[in-house]
């Protein structure tokens, strides 16, 4: 539910090949991956979206494109429509990289356009300001028809806030993705209804070894759950959020 394309200026992008990514997913036992931009969060959102579309095309549905918009721009809603029209399955927003607060009024047209197309907002969380889970959850509170995913479950210190947000707002979901110890992920699983949870590795961002480590942590947790719950956490919830068959 959470991977990135490398930054275009990085050596990782120079060597990025779709076939190599799909082979790595096979090695790690990953069927499908939600793909997000990095560059589009820092530079030009539409250009980042174009690269995501190209990178995911021809993957047989295994790489799921997620778009982004710069909420401060007056044409942000138009870019939401463009993402929906080209088959993107959700929108990723990153308050500290994109320099916005989820509480500000320019979020309204973005949220309304996302609702119109049934696209969830996947929002980086866990980093104050302006990416605290409860700040993001207020956006979900103002737009009950909008599905909002806390992309990191509070990241580490704010995991209790992420749990509170998921319990308070029916339309807040949580992806367990990031540095938090396995013990914290286990508490999230114990406290949040399982149908609201999904898994992510942040692959493509940061240390290239992290996906392997994080999948090991996730698999240990999946092995402790009843089969239906494990399937929900491992893929069904993400499929439902992203509207996948």
């Amino acid at each position: 539910m959470h991977t990135h394309l490398p930054a275009l200026a990085s050596p990782e992008w120079a060597s990025w090949r779709q076939a190599g990514v799909l082979a790595a997913m096979d090695r790690h036992g990953v069927s499908r991956a939600a793909v997000m931009t990095l560059d589009g969060l820092g530079y030009d959102a539409p250009a980042g979206n174009d690269v995501v579309a190209q990178a995911c095309a021809g993957s047989g549905g295994r790489l799921i494109p997620l778009g982004t918009v710069d909420p401060r721009r007056p044409d942000a809603a138009a870019e939401v429509h463009r993402c929906a029209d080209r088959g993107f399955r959700a929108l990723k927003l990153h308050p500290w990289m994109q320099g916005f607060s989820p509480l500000e009024p320019y979020m309204d047209p973005v949220a309304e356009a996302a609702i119109e197309h049934g696209l969830p907002l996947v929002v980086h969380d866990g980093t104050p300001p302006y990416a605290s889970p409860l700040q993001i959850a207020r956006l979900a509170g103002r737009f009950p028809e909008l599905r909002v995913v806390l992309a990191h479950g509070g990241l580490f210190d704010l995991w209790e806030d992420a749990v509170a947000a998921a319990l308070r707002y029916p339309n807040v979901h949580v992806t367990m993705c990031g540095t938090a110890p396995g013990a914290i992920f286990r508490r999230i699983v114990a406290q949040v209804p399982v149908e609201k949870l999904s898994l992510g590795t942040d692959s493509g961002f940061g240390d290239p070894d992290l996906p392997r480590h994080r999948l090991s942590v996730h698999r240990a947790i999946l092995a402790e759950l009843p089969g239906d719950d494990a399937a929900a956490l491992a893929h069904r919830n993400a499929e439902r959020l992203l509207g996948l068959p």
Binding site: P128, L155, D157, G182, V217
Partner: protein, 246 residues
């Protein structure tokens, strides 16, 4: 190869797992860690410092060849009370001071901390600081403290997680008295830490039971270190930095 875990957590936190000393030793055995340094968490850090310090001293007293311990004092107890408890803990065998600024309620650059650090420096011990919580314990705040206190050695506990991973190397390379730990870092970053700081300034740690000790050990194995560097990170550096006698 002797493996030393420079930080495992001891004590109760709401909702999170805890290990008694017997379970801790079993966990270490399962993973192949010979020795570990236990550090207090929860109320032992926030308010009941002496209770935690005495409990951990008891664990170490019963298993002197397997365990060492970080003592803590809350600087808000003031020069006299905090200083007295820290001196008592060092006399009782603590290998260093652990601080958790976000739990103990102070900023790393607060003058409140100075009298406590004076006691640590008198004893020539290291200081383990849990970093990563904005305002109270950012990596660059610890780097500034290390510049102010060149006579002390500081371990960058938790490596600034989360979300100060970008600050980690700029902070750790500020001065020679800053030491890294491996927990929470990916294999490639562990490689870089060793390259930039030298293996003598990188300590293997797990932060078990919050993390799975086996997975933390495995990713050090994937860091591609030379045998000599890996031996230092997994144990030699900790022996030198902590001055632990086991």
């Amino acid at each position: 190869m002797s493996v030393i875990d420079a930080h495992v957590a001891a004590g109760d936190l709401p909702d999170l797992p805890t290990l008694g000393v017997d379970d801790l030793l079993r966990t270490l055995d399962d993973v192949g860690v010979e020795r570990a340094v236990v550090g207090p968490v929860g109320r032992w850090v926030a308010v009941d410092n002496e209770d935690g310090n005495r409990t951990l001293a008891g664990w170490v007293g019963a298993h002197p060849h397997r365990l060492a311990w970080w003592a803590t004092v809350n600087p808000w107890y003031g020069r006299d009370r905090a200083g007295a408890e820290l001196r008592r803990a060092f006399a009782d065998g603590a290998c260093g001071l652990k601080l958790v600024p976000s739990v103990q309620g102070f900023g790393l650059l607060s003058p409140l901390l100075e009298p406590v650090l004076d006691v640590v420096e008198e004893h020539g011990r290291p200081v383990y600081v849990v970093t990563g919580v904005p305002v109270a314990s950012e990596p660059l705040q610890l780097a500034e403290l290390a510049l102010r206190r060149p006579g002390l050695r500081f371990v960058m506990g938790r490596s600034g997680r989360t979300d100060f991973s970008l600050d980690l190397l700029p902070a750790l390379t500020t001065g020679p008295n800053l030491v890294a730990e491996t927990a929470y870092n990916g294999a490639a970053l562990i490689t870089r830490l060793v390259a930039e700081l030298g293996p003598g300034r990188v300590l293997f740690s797990t932060d078990a039971p919050f993390n799975d000790a086996r997975l933390e050990l495995e990713r050090v194995g994937r860091a591609g270190l030379t045998d000599a560097d890996r031996a230092a990170v997994l144990g030699g550096s900790a022996t030198a930095v902590l001055g632990a006698t086991w």
